[in-house]
Symmetry: C4
Subunit: 177 residues, 4 copies
């Protein structure tokens, strides 16, 4: 993911980068959040099999398309079709993450760390719902659709109380307090 | 590996990306599968020496050429020569993986984890055979050759029962069940 | 981060790369130092929560803009506006690192490794001060401002006695000496 | 490091990539060998301080210039000046590796793993000697100089008996044989 260096040196050239920069910021958040969650998800995993491999590749595939979709959207100032394509990529990534989570849950016991940490999938369902709404809306109100997609990213930045609590418990018990 | 952003915003521009996208998908699968298998392969390794280093560099070299070969093929709509070059790169990577596997097997005892996991090399041999067939066919039927190469990628996505079984055993024994 | 290959082969073409090369060197140092410090910082961490995730993404965001800002500045021979933008990116990264450090300190006990290693934040405060001064000065004396930014990078390359001492202690005690 | 996709589809276009491909192969070997050795070097390290950080950044800096130097050389068919610059980059990387090794040796006890593994620095000295000779020769015989640089890469691919032996010993003792 990169922003192309403008040839000119002027405040106007910088302002002209606005849409590119905005789509860069949101896409950076998405990739950062997925990277972080993906890392945590696979860290607590003990069993990997074919369907987990499939789901993982599927997720990474959509994530790998974010720079393309983001660049096309930013360079064309959020024109309708580009926001639709961006939404399709985000929806694909969300589905990939969802399928990966489900594959992992199915292969671990009910009392495993991963079951406790991922028991509540409210955020995942809200995200999928907003993506579909944004996709439909992107034909008429592309900028509103992009605003919806941005709100999903911000929602995922909120601290997840369940996982936090879990980590604190480990910390406390490992210190014998 | 990346898809160049089109200048235009139109459904036609997206459709025009079709061949580029198709070669991107298959190349993504190849790199993902190799990356995954390579990771697993080296994880169970205890002894590394000069010939393993050689074989590893040889494999990574061919993998590093996939973006080039894939891009050239996609941008030229699967013209004969480009599919041939793509097949040569895939064959090179497959040979590198084969040599790496053999080097590792030679340096580990018969009852080591790596011997059990890699005892059966049917998939490897089928892949090499299809690559050679595809290469020969690419002069006359490049699209058919590409279809064959794609089928090899899909074949590797099938869960490998042997390794799965092995991992389940570890899981079970480590939980004392 | 990369330097574009010149079309011509001549000593003049190489000399013409001077400003690009200089900004590449300093940016390389910045990214290298942050990468190193970031790695050490997160290695001694036991508790991660939402605000640490936020601060981490915020830091990585500004670091990801260094190639853009550095390239623009180098290709335009340190023109005023480009140095200002470069300074904003460095300041953003420094703030991100500062917030990340503070988040981590708040979540660990007073006697934890991370508190001992990061107790003294003199360098951090000097850096922030120089960035702000450089930013103000960049409108009138962009080259002087860049020189100030370079001095901050060099300051961070100085061995940090506190951490060194700490590591030596671990080494010594683990060897029973 | 990448090879630019040619616009044309023809055997001539492929042959025209010859010099680019050759410089890509040798540069790939260099980066691969350094990456491998660097990884092994830092793995057996217990103490890191300021001068190790310096040396490490210095080495990575020169390695980061290899794609630039390699691309310039390949696209200009090994013209004199481009081979000289390539040699300067290789010499810089070799010096960085040498300084890093020396910093690490100085900070570890005489009987540590790293002292045993790196006791003999013949290869390092031969490499430095050949780089200097190649650099001088590159003004008159650039292709001969490139051949010398390539031979250094091949020399490093030879199995290093000392390290191999060491690893086998660990393996054997850990298996109780």
């Amino acid at each position: 993911m990169e922003i192309k260096v403008p040839h000119e040196v002027s405040v106007q050239a910088l302002i002209g980068l606005g849409p590119v920069f905005l789509s860069y910021v949101i896409s950076f958040l998405y990739v950062g959040i997925y990277w972080n969650n993906h890392h945590h998800l696979l860290q607590s995993v003990k069993v990997i099999d074919g369907s987990v491999l499939w789901a993982n590749l599927f997720l990474l595939f959509w994530l790998s398309l974010i720079p393309f979709a983001s660049g096309w959207m930013g360079e064309n100032k959020f024109e309708g079709l580009t926001v639709t394509v961006y939404g399709v990529v985000l929806l694909g990534a969300a589905l990939g993450y969802y399928v990966l989570t489900m594959s992992l849950l199915k292969r671990h016991r009910e009392d495993s760390v991963i079951h406790i940490a991922l028991g509540n999938t409210l955020k995942e369902h809200v995200s999928l719902f907003v993506y579909v709404m944004g996709l439909v809306g992107s034909f008429w109100f592309p900028r509103l659709a992009f605003a919806l997609f941005s709100m999903v990213a911000l929602m995922w930045l909120y601290p997840d109380k369940r996982i936090e609590k879990h980590y604190s418990d480990i910390e406390r018990s490992s210190k014998g307090a």
